[in-house]
């Protein structure tokens, strides 16, 4: 139904306006993420830390060690579970979900996350390529596609909400000065790739005989931020009802394939962590999928297989994907809405494009990411590097980073658990070919820009 409310005995359909602050998950990700950051800072400023709550499985080499860890820390895990459950339940019920459906589902998700996280801490995990993001994704896909899960469990598998919350928390671990320093290159690189990828998909799509609105929807899916961009552009240009599901299917297939391909391709090419992260940021299609790939490459880097650190891979990815690509979706939508209404064939329905669309469609969680970065950067300005590493990192930054890791694992598992290949809409050969053409060009140009043109920039990021 249209969003209707009753006012003074009359039924009214209302625009979102300020209600977006509690009706959109972007804002809830901000409230949650910044809430955690502020609480962490308050504890830190008073000589304490949220370290106790931000418990994570420790490194282990035999089962007895693992057992001992959980025997010692189970109360902390219970407390953390209750905290996550409380904040997510509040947010999701405000968004319209039912707590009685979400709570049992989140219990399953948290228990599986503990297992995945613990497996990733095994000292032989790297040897067997048991990277937590990949294990979470593969295990989730196996459960949902082979074993089968009851539909009601989907209530807790909120991929996008978890990744947005994780990105806001990530902001707190990324110095604002780094965003200022690396942001322009990220925007330049991402813009080149986005424009070329869009044009290739659109051009091939139209040449193959696709409707221009579908071609644009596919193009945005490949060029900007995957499924989210595809539905944003489909709405902006007034696409057919079936256009968005077609784009969703194609993006999911490519994005999931790239999660497994890009990190190992980067490893094969011995790309430094920052360069690999930038390549993934340029060539993955959806935020959540890209974080799975970037986190995997970060883990590979931290095992010593390639130069650089885990943070470098994740930071480079984030700058390219979030700052370089995601934030421009409103402008893409506005420009394409103008072209659709002035150049393409008329439809029965329509509207005048408005510049305000740039704001309406802005991925607001990015504000949370930037504000979190600014808060921690300003709060720790007076510390020397030695003091920062000795007292700020373990008591303030590391616990936030650990909570971020939990949010990402919830997300990676949820991707697999919600992706049921047999239920996806049939995409058809032509849309798949058009998107694939852009994906191939995207990977090649992304590599050239990341590993050759801007290699020195990404290799030294956050060193």
């Amino acid at each position: 139904m249209a969003n209707v409310e009753i006012h003074g005995g009359r039924v009214e359909a209302l625009p979102l306006r300020w209600r977006e602050l509690w009706l959109k998950e972007d804002w809830w990700a901000i409230w949650l993420g910044l809430g955690i950051v502020l609480i962490a800072y308050i504890f830190f400023a008073n000589g304490s830390s949220i370290r106790w709550l931000a418990v994570t499985p420790a490194k282990w080499s035999n089962f007895a060690e693992l057992q001992s860890h959980f025997a010692t820390n189970y109360v902390r895990y219970i407390a953390q579970f209750v905290a996550w459950l409380a904040v997510f339940t509040i947010a999701l019920t405000a968004l319209g979900h039912k707590a009685r459906e979400f709570i049992p589902s989140f219990i399953v998700l948290y228990l599986l996350s503990v297992v995945i996280f613990a497996l990733g801490q095994w000292d032989k995990a790297n040897t067997h390529n048991l990277e937590p993001p990949l294990v979470a994704l593969a295990f989730g896909l196996l459960l949902s596609n082979v074993v089968g899960l009851p539909r009601w469990l989907d209530a807790g598998f909120r991929v996008e909400f978890y990744i947005k919350t994780g990105i806001v928390l990530l902001g707190a671990t990324l110095p604002f000065t780094l965003i200022i320093w690396a942001g322009p290159v990220a925007i330049l690189q991402a813009s080149i790739v986005s424009i070329v990828t869009f044009l290739v998909i659109y051009w091939v799509g139209v040449k193959l005989g696709l409707d221009r609105r579908l071609a644009a929807t596919l193009g945005a899916g490949g060029a900007v931020c995957g499924v989210s961009a595809a539905i944003a552009i489909s709405g902006a240009v007034g696409g057919k009802k079936e256009d968005a599901p077609i784009a969703i299917t194609v993006v999911i297939i490519w994005a999931i394939a790239m999660i497994f391909v890009l990190p190992f391709a980067a490893l094969y090419l011995h790309l430094p962590a920052g360069v690999g992260g930038a390549w993934i940021g340029t060539s993955e299609f959806a935020d959540a999928a890209g974080f799975a790939a970037a986190q995997t490459y970060g883990n590979i880097a931290s095992s010593g297989a390639v130069a650089g650190s885990s943070d470098q891979a994740v930071f480079a990815y984030t700058l390219i994907k979030v700052v370089g690509r995601d934030v421009w979706i409103g402008i893409w939508a506005f420009v394409l809405a103008i072209i659709a209404t002035t150049q393409w064939e008329r439809t029965e329905t329509g509207r005048k494009p408005e510049a305000a669309e740039i704001w309406w469609r802005f991925p607001k969680f990015v504000f949370g990411f930037l504000v979190a970065s600014l808060i921690i950067t300003l709060a720790t300005t007076g510390y020397s590097l030695a003091e920062f590493n000795k007292s700020v990192v373990p008591t303030l930054v590391a616990p936030i980073k650990d909570l971020r890791t939990w949010a990402f694992i919830f997300c990676f598992l949820s991707i697999g658990l919600t992706t049921r290949f047999r239920e996806l809409a049939g995409a058809g050969r032509k849309p798949f070919l058009a998107f694939s053409a852009g994906a191939v060009v995207n990977v090649i140009i992304g590599f050239i820009l990341s590993a050759i043109v801007f290699a020195a920039h990404w290799e030294t990021i956050a060193r």
Partner: protein, 75 residues
């Protein structure tokens, strides 16, 4: 293309469905890598009359006021 006032836009039309939960049901796979609750979607929705996915600010000649909405019938 028209420039109707808010009272005759899709958001106020009974053919229009932009509830996030509804969209997550009809757009198979939407929740795998995205969501119906994100800001980028704005308040777009599906027009059941024309089978299009539209901005809530769109309009057309087939507008049917939301006063025929089930909620209104109960008033």
């Amino acid at each position: 293309m028209s420039d109707e006032g808010p009272q005759r836009q899709c958001r106020a039309c009974n053919h229009f469905r932009n509830d996030a939960k509804y969209l997550e049901t009809v757009f198979k796979g939407l929740t795998s890598l995205s969501s119906g609750y994100g800001s980028v979607r704005s308040d777009d929705g599906v027009c059941l009359r024309h089978d299009r996915y539209l901005s809530a600010r769109s309009s057309c000649a087939d507008f049917l006021p939301v006063t025929s909405h089930p909620i209104a019938q109960k008033l």
